[in-house]
Subunit: 358 residues, 2 copies
């Protein structure tokens, strides 16, 4: 489809991959699961579908240079929108839609998170193309739902309704916030609830029409700043408008209220790789269940993930269920069951004044 | 006592403190238990008893420069004997005794390992002084025995016999090689067996007279090389003689056959700190039983020893019973119960061609 644009949201920060991820080197810039960074893999997944001139990136002003550098030849460096301050995903979606519409009044956009693992790429691209056909043909917001394999409490859920006109697509009955455990179990048992992947496809004009209805202040603040002559205003130009915006997610601000939302159950593997303990699923493992990146020597070691750096040697003896991450100025040794607690550790390190390690 | 000399045996190599200890930086050069290296602490323990001009060091040619550098102002750098090749402790004891006798025909020598932890220093010095009185007054070899607190299989034992003339000293009934577990348990239950600490005091001439009787070839090979004009022959000068020597320990070659050997039960704390897991006994521990050197941040962590280096941060979450050692080019994460297995790991690393980390 000649009017399909990709809009990668690459503004995430987060501390869950400390010490490898840092304030200035967030998860999407890391090569956690392969030889290339997650943001590069995200862009390359649509290599065949979206040519360079239709690739957009939305990030924050602090990370923009690093993101542009990382994407390198994959993008046009002028096709980058820099949010001056974080205002959640509704503002980002509107800003991206305004830029796409400025480039192409009929533009359809695929909104992609920069830090998910999705495979195989060809299946994903095919699903995006199918969603783009639906979105181009009608004022429909298309979401991608992931069939849950456990009652996760860390994702929002999409309640699937009746079958839609196009094969495989269903109407969305409702969006559900992150549930408690019992509710999540009920969702999974019911069978018609899917995880909300945060991947969306819509026509830019569809999204903007809905924004006019549901978040008119956001649209009014941003619309004058994005024009066909200047589709990518600078962070400085955006700042006064952003300072007036409320923090609203696109799910809450638009999707939950939109009359035509459809969901396609993802035919691809999807993982948002939320913690160190999830990395092992994307690395080769030895007979003992160990996954190693870098230079390591494991003895009597089981179910342990080692992330080394460069030429530094990590040797283990007699340990199990650990995540070991070595970087030049900080090393983490954590039990996998505690991999979620890294945020608290990072907070504590900040309180100790160790900001140069964060 | 004006004729008391210290002879530190600082030739140990070993891999048990890898990755902190290296081929060129053995255990005795490390500050494992305090702010100073073990060899410096060894020498300083006798500060008040043995002045600088009566301090000798016996090491191997490869480590000599590092040992001399480490001891610094504590020793006269010319008072160092460099063994060209390792020939066990009988040759070392004879060489040391020849040097002491060349300096002082009545010299009494305290033979000390460079890598033991002994406290308090004043109690140790007092015990050495008492032993030196006994050794000066008669042709007696004095050994120090350690009251066992468990049936260790890693030490030789001294069977204590009848009380000797001087209060606290006993005749040695026999020396026992490192026992198996059952034998060790019998020794401990019997009550009159002590660990052989490897600390000895004797008159140089006494040791040399016994060497003439029991290991005459060793004495004959070395005696011509050590003279009052040149008490500290070079490694090159010693090499032809050393190449002819058998490998014999002083225990086997002399002590087990000598007619007058006495043992003094050590009134001091003694630990040969044989593995990483033994280090914690010499470091302050927090309420969770953790011992930390360097920069670390421990969360939900118990009974774990962290040896950092410099400014590198080690963070742990949810682990217990680990030894974590960080050095600039290698990091070890080992369960304490496996701390003894480091030798095998080092051997494996050598086979992998990682000699630059050893």
């Amino acid at each position: 489809m000649k009017s399909l644009y990709s809009v990668i949201l690459a503004g995430g920060s987060g501390t869950r991959f400390w010490p490898l991820s840092r304030t200035r080197r967030p998860k999407q810039l890391l090569a956690l699961t392969g030889d290339e960074s997650m943001v590069r893999l995200t862009q390359r997944r649509l290599d065949a579908l979206v040519p360079r001139e239709r690739r957009l990136v939305l990030t924050n002003a602090q990370q923009a240079d690093a993101v542009v550098h990382e994407l390198g030849e994959l993008i046009d460096p002028t096709h980058v929108l820099r949010e001056p301050i974080a205002r959640d995903t509704a503002a980002a979606a509107v800003l991206g839609a305004l830029a796409v519409r400025a480039l192409d009044p009929d533009g359809v956009m695929a909104v992609l998170a920069a830090d998910h693992v999705i495979e195989p790429a060809a299946v994903f691209a095919d699903a995006i193309a199918r969603a783009a056909e639906v979105a181009a043909a009608s004022p429909t917001l298309v979401t991608f739902g992931i069939r849950p394999d456990h009652p996760a409490t860390g994702y929002g859920y999409i309640e699937r309704g009746d079958a839609a006109a196009t094969d495989g697509f269903h109407a969305v009955q409702s969006f559900k916030e992150k549930p408690d455990r019992a509710t999540a179990e009920r969702y999974v048992a019911a069978g018609n609830y899917l995880w909300n992947s945060g991947i969306f496809v819509w026509k830019a004009s569809t999204l903007l029409d809905l924004a006019a209805d549901f978040i008119p202040e956001t649209l009014a603040a941003l619309e004058p700043l994005v024009t066909p002559d200047d589709p990518f205003p600078s962070a400085d130009a955006l700042r006064p408008a952003f300072e007036r915006l409320d923090k609203i997610s696109v799910d809450y601000g638009i999707l939950e209220r939109a009359p035509r939302v459809e969901v396609l159950e993802a035919p691809f593997q999807w993982d948002d790789v939320g913690a160190w303990s999830a990395i092992e699923d994307h690395l080769p493992r030895d007979a003992g269940g160990n996954a190693v990146r870098g230079l390591a020597h494991l003895t009597s070691t089981r179910n342990t993930t080692v992330f080394g750096d460069g030429d530094h040697l990590v040797a283990t003896i007699g340990v199990e269920d650990l995540v070991i991450v070595h970087t030049p100025d900080a090393t983490l040794v954590a039990h996998k069951r505690n991999a979620q607690d890294i945020k608290a550790v990072v907070d504590a390190l900040r309180e100790r004044g160790l900001d140069d390690r964060l």
